[in-house]
C-alpha cells in the first residue's frame, strides 16, 4: 500500500501570494494513498529538508511529492533528502506550482484548483515510481577543445597543466583567433601579439596537447565521459612532418595577388601562405582555390624550392577518430562587414572600414606597418569618424543586443589614432558609453580628456562620398537633436559582433542549444554560465555572446576547472532514467516481436540485436536489447514499439497514463 507524503512550499511569498498553500495541503491529504501532507515556508532550506527526512521516517512514507518550484531547479535537492530519509531517491517527484502556476496566474480559485490538480497528478505518478540505482560509466580523460582563439588556448593550457590530455581542433591554418589580429588591447593597451604569442607557442610545445590546425569537426557521437569524435584534417598540400617553416615556398610563389584574410582584404598573400608571421604552427598551406597548379596544372615552383621536399600536391583530407571525455567549445565570433549598412553605402566606399580593419591599420605588423592610412589612396586621415553601435541595438536590422566590446574598442581606437596622428581629430557618434568593468570607464574618460576624442551623442543617419571626403550626417541629441555634418577622411564602423560562420551546424552536430542569433546557450545564465545543456560539453569565450579578452579567458579557465573536476573520477555516475526492453525469466522470455522498428529511431544507436539460442546453440529468435551505457533516455523507442515491449524509467507507461488520468478526473 502506497504511503505518500506531500509537501507544499510557500517559497516565501512566491507561491503563497497566489496559491492558498494550506488549502492545497488539506485537499492533498485526502487523496487516496496520501499518508501525510503539510505546507512550509521554504522547503529547500535546511529545516525544510529536515521536515521531509523526518516525515519519511515518522510516517513510514513510500514516496514523496514536493510541490514547489520547477524540478529543473530543485529535483536533485529533494532526491537527496529522500535518500537521507531512507527511501530510494527516485521515489520523489516535484509538482511545479511555482513557475507553472503561482508565477503565471492571478490569485483565485482557478489557480488553487490548478495547483491541486498538479499535486494530484504527481501523487498518482509517484505511487508508480520504481526504485532505481544510478548507472556508472567510465570516463575517458582526454578533452577536446574546438577553436584555438584566446579562449581555446587558455582552456587547453589549463587542462593540460592539470595533467590531462587535450586535443585541439582549429579551423584556420594557425591558432590565435581574433586576438592575434588586434593591435593593442584595452584597458591597459598592451600589445596583443606580445601577450598572446608566448601562449600560442606553449600550446604547440605542451606534451599533453595534440594540435590539429586546418581541421574541423566531422561528427560527434556518444555522451559525457565517452564521446567519439571524427576530425576532418583538411589537406594543407604540405607534409607537416617534413616542413621546417623556412618560408622559401611562400617567398617564391609567383601567384601573390590573393586577398589576405588575416589583413581583412587590405593586403595580398601568395597562394601558399602562413596567415601571419607568428603563426602556430609555422607551416604553410596551399589555397587550392587560388594556386595556379591546382587551377591549370602548371607551376609547382614551391615544390622545386622546398629543400625538405615537403610539398604534397596529392595530399587528401584525412579523417581522424578520437575518443574524448569532455568537449570545450571555444569557436569565438565574427563581426558584421560594412556591406551590412545600406545607409552607409552598402560597403561601396573603401574608406569606410570596420573595427578589425582599423586594428590591422594600427598594428605594427599590419599592412601599413602601424601607420593610420586610408585604404583608398594611402593618405593619413586628419578627420576620422567612429560610429558606435553600428548594427547593434538595432532591431530593424535584426540585431537587438548590445555587442558589449565596441564601446571599449572604439575608445581604444580613438586613443591609438591620436597617438599616431597628433594633429588629427577623432569624432565618435555613440548612443551610450557602456564601459562597465575594472578600469574601463577610466579608459573611456582618458580618450575624452587626454586624447581629445569628440563624443557626439546620436546615431549616424547617412554617410556619402563627395569629392574624396566622406560626409557623415548625424544628429546631436544633447543639442536639440540638431543635425551635425562632418566631412571625414575615414570612417570606422564598430560593427556588431555576431556568431561565427558555421556555429549553427556545429551546435547541431554536438546537440547543444543556441539562441536566435546562433550564439551557443549556457545551461543557466547565472549559475551554469560555462555549461551547456548537454552533459560533458562546455563553452567559453565569444561563441556564447560577444566578450572581451578578460571575460573569455575567465570563462575558459572556468571550463578547464569543470573538466578537471569531471576527470577527477575514473567513473561517472549517470541518472538511471533510461529505456529497457522487457525480459522475463525463464530464459529470455519477452513480448518483443523482434520487428526492430525501434532500432533506427534511436539517436544514439543504443538498440542492439540480442540472439536467443536454444540448448544446442541454434538461433531461436532475436530480441531488442538496449545498451544502458548509450541510452540517453529520450523515450522515442518507447513510443514506436507497437507491442509495448519497451518502457522507460521515470516516464513509464504506467506513470504517464496515471498522470493523465489524475489530471482531469477531478
Amino acid at each position: 500500500m502506497a504511503r505518500i507524503g506531500v509537501f507544499i512550499c510557500h517559497c516565501g511569498e512566491n507561491i503563497s501570494a497566489t496559491v492558498d498553500c494550506p488549502k492545497v495541503s488539506e485537499v492533498a491529504a485526502k487523496f487516496p494513498g496520501v499518508a501525510f501532507s503539510t505546507d512550509y515556508k521554504y522547503m529547500c532550506s535546511d529545516p525544510g529538508q529536515s521536515l521531509v527526512v523526518n516525515a519519511i521516517k515518522e510516517h513510514k512514507l513510500t514516496g514523496i511529492v514536493v510541490s514547489a518550484c520547477s524540478p529543473r531547479m530543485h529535483e536533485p535537492t529533494f532526491r537527496r533528502a529522500c535518500a537521507e530519509g531512507g527511501l530510494n531517491p527516485y521515489q520523489c517527484e516535484m509538482a511545479n506550482i511555482r513557475e507553472h502556476c503561482s508565477w503565471v496566474h492571478e490569485k483565485g480559485d482557478k489557480t488553487d484548483q490548478k495547483a491541486i490538480d498538479i499535486v494530484r497528478m504527481m501523487v498518482e505518478k509517484v505511487k508508480r515510481n520504481n526504485a532505481l540505482l544510478p548507472i556508472k560509466v567510465p570516463v575517458t580523460k582526454t578533452a577536446l577543445v574546438i577553436g584555438g582563439g584566446v579562449a581555446g588556448i587558455q582552456a587547453a593550457l589549463d587542462i593540460a597543466n592539470a595533467g590531462h590530455k587535450v586535443i585541439m581542433v582549429e579551423r584556420d591554418p594557425s591558432i590565435g583567433g581574433h586576438m592575434s589580429q588586434l593591435s593593442e588591447t584595452f584597458p591597459t593597451l598592451d600589445c596583443s601579439q606580445c601577450i598572446l604569442t608566448p601562449r600560442m607557442v606553449e600550446v604547440a610545445q605542451n606534451p599533453n596537447i595534440k594540435l590539429y590546425t586546418y581541421a574541423e569537426i566531422e561528427s560527434v557521437e556518444g555522451f559525457v565521459g565517452n564521446f567519439n569524435v571524427k576530425i576532418r584534417k583538411k589537406a594543407k598540400s604540405v607534409d607537416e612532418t617534413l616542413c621546417n617553416g623556412c618560408g622559401m615556398c611562400t617567398t617564391k610563389c609567383p601567384n601573390k595577388k590573393n586577398p589576405n584574410e588575416f589583413e581583412l582584404g587590405m593586403g595580398n598573400r601568395p597562394a601558399i601562405y602562413v596567415p601571419f608571421p607568428q603563426a602556430v604552427p609555422n607551416i604553410p598551406v596551399i589555397d587550392k582555390t587560388q594556386c595556379t597548379y591546382y587551377k591549370n596544372g602548371k607551376c609547382k615552383i614551391c615544390e622545386k624550392v622546398c629543400q625538405p621536399k615537403a610539398i604534397r600536391f596529392d595530399q587528401e583530407d584525412e579523417i581522424i577518430e578520437v575518443a574524448v571525455g569532455a568537449i570545450a567549445l571555444c569557436t569565438g565570433f565574427d563581426i558584421k562587414k560594412t556591406d551590412f549598412f545600406p545607409e552607409y553605402g552598402y560597403g561601396k566606399y573603401k574608406d569606410i572600414i570596420d573595427g578589425l580593419q582599423f586594428e590591422r591599420l594600427a598594428s605594427a605588423s599590419g599592412p601599413t606597418s602601424g601607420e593610420i592610412r586610408r585604404p583608398s589612396d594611402g593618405q593619413v586621415p586628419k578627420k576620422i569618424v567612429f560610429v558606435a553601435c553600428a548594427g547593434s541595438r538595432d532591431p530593424a536590422k535584426g540585431i537587438e543586443y548590445c555587442s558589449k566590446i565596441c564601446c571599449m574598442y572604439t575608445a581604444k581606437h580613438a586613443i591609438l589614432y591620436k597617438h599616431k596622428v597628433h594633429d588629427g581629430q577623432a569624432y565618435i557618434f555613440y548612443m551610450d558609453i557602456r564601459a562597465a568593468g575594472k578600469n574601463y570607464d577610466e579608459f573611456t574618460r582618458r580618450a575624452i580628456e587626454e586624447d581629445q576624442a569628440q563624443y557626439i551623442r546620436g546615431r549616424v543617419s547617412r554617410i556619402y562620398e563627395r569629392d574624396g571626403k566622406l560626409i557623415v550626417v548625424g544628429a546631436d541629441t544633447l543639442m536639440n537633436a540638431q543635425t551635425v555634418e562632418i566631412e571625414a577622411d575615414m570612417v570606422v564602423l564598430a560593427t556588431a559582433g555576431v556568431a561565427n560562420k558555421g556555429a549553427e551546424e556545429l551546435a547541431q552536430k554536438l546537440h547543444v542549444s543556441y539562441d536566435q542569433h546562433k550564439f551557443f546557450s549556457e545551461a543557466h545564465p547565472k549559475l551554469k554560465p560555462v555549461e551547456t545543456n548537454t552533459a560533458g560539453i562546455y563553452l567559453a569565450g565569444a561563441c556564447q555572446s560577444p566578450k572581451d579578452i578578460p571575460e573569455s579567458v575567465a570563462a575558459a579557465s572556468g571550463v578547464a576547472g569543470k573538466i578537471a573536476c569531471l576527470f577527477a573520477n575514473s567513473e561517472l555516475t549517470r541518472e538511471p532514467l533510461i529505456a529497457m526492453v522487457d525480459r522475463q525469466a525463464p530464459p529470455m522470455y519477452s513480448s518483443c516481436t523482434g520487428c526492430f522498428l525501434c532500432q533506427p529511431v534511436c539517436p544514439y544507436n543504443a538498440i542492439e540485436r540480442e540472439e536467443v539460442k536454444d540448448r544446442n546453440g541454434n538461433l531461436v529468435r532475436e530480441l531488442a536489447f538496449i545498451n544502458p551505457g548509450l541510452c540517453q533516455g529520450c523515450g522515442t523507442c518507447v513510443a514506436v514499439c507497437k507491442s509495448k515491449s519497451i518502457d522507460i524509467e521515470g516516464y513509464t507507461n504506467l506513470q504517464m497514463y496515471a498522470e493523465v488520468d489524475a489530471l482531469l478526473n477531478s
Binding site: 529543473r72 513557475e99 503565471v104 547541431q508 546537440h511 542549444s513 539517436p603 493523465v660 489530471l663
Partner: protein, 145 residues
C-alpha cells in the same frame, strides 16, 4: 451561465517547452489557468494513445510542444514525433477525433512569451469549439453511469 472554461492538457518535452514554460514563470508573464502540463523527456516519447486517453478523461484540447526542428536535445526525437503524428492524424480523422483540438507547436527554452501566447490562443480557439462532449460522453464512465 459563466463562460465555458476548456480543459487543456499540454504534453511537452523536458528540454525546450518545459523549460520555456519555466521561463514564462520566471518572467512573470500571465496566461490562462486552463492548462495542465505533463512533462516528457522528449516529444519522441509521446505515445499518441495518450491523446485519446486525455480526451477520454475530459480534456477539451491538447497542446503538444517540443524543441524546434534541429534543436532536439536528443537530435531527432521531435522529427519522429512529427512523423508519427502525421500517421496518427489520419487515424484520428478516420476515427472522427476532432484534430482541430490538437495544437502542435515548437517552443524553445528561450520562448517564454511564445508559450503564454500559445496557451492563450489555444484556450480561446477551444473555447470557440465548445466542450468536447461528443467524445467525453463515449468515455466508459459516462456510458456506465
Amino acid at each position: 451561465m459563466s463562460e465555458f472554461e476548456p480543459k487543456i492538457v499540454a504534453f511537452v518535452c523536458n528540454w525546450c517547452t518545459y523549460a520555456g514554460a519555466d521561463l514564462t514563470g520566471t518572467s512573470r508573464i500571465k496566461y490562462a489557468t486552463n492548462v495542465r502540463i505533463v512533462r516528457f523527456p522528449c516529444t519522441g516519447r509521446i505515445d499518441y494513445m495518450l491523446l485519446t486517453k486525455a480526451f477520454a478523461s475530459g480534456a477539451d484540447g491538447i497542446i503538444v510542444s517540443g524543441c524546434h526542428p534541429n534543436d532536439c536535445h536528443y537530435t531527432s526525437g521531435n522529427f519522429h514525433a512529427r512523423r508519427r503524428w502525421m500517421v496518427f492524424k489520419k487515424l484520428c480523422d478516420f476515427m472522427g477525433i476532432d484534430t482541430r483540438r490538437i495544437v502542435f507547436s515548437w517552443v524553445s527554452a528561450a520562448e517564454g512569451v511564445k508559450w503564454a501566447d500559445i496557451v492563450n490562443t489555444t484556450v480561446e480557439e477551444v473555447r470557440k469549439l465548445g466542450p468536447y462532449e461528443s467524445y467525453h460522453k463515449l468515455s466508459t464512465q459516462d456510458i456506465l453511469a
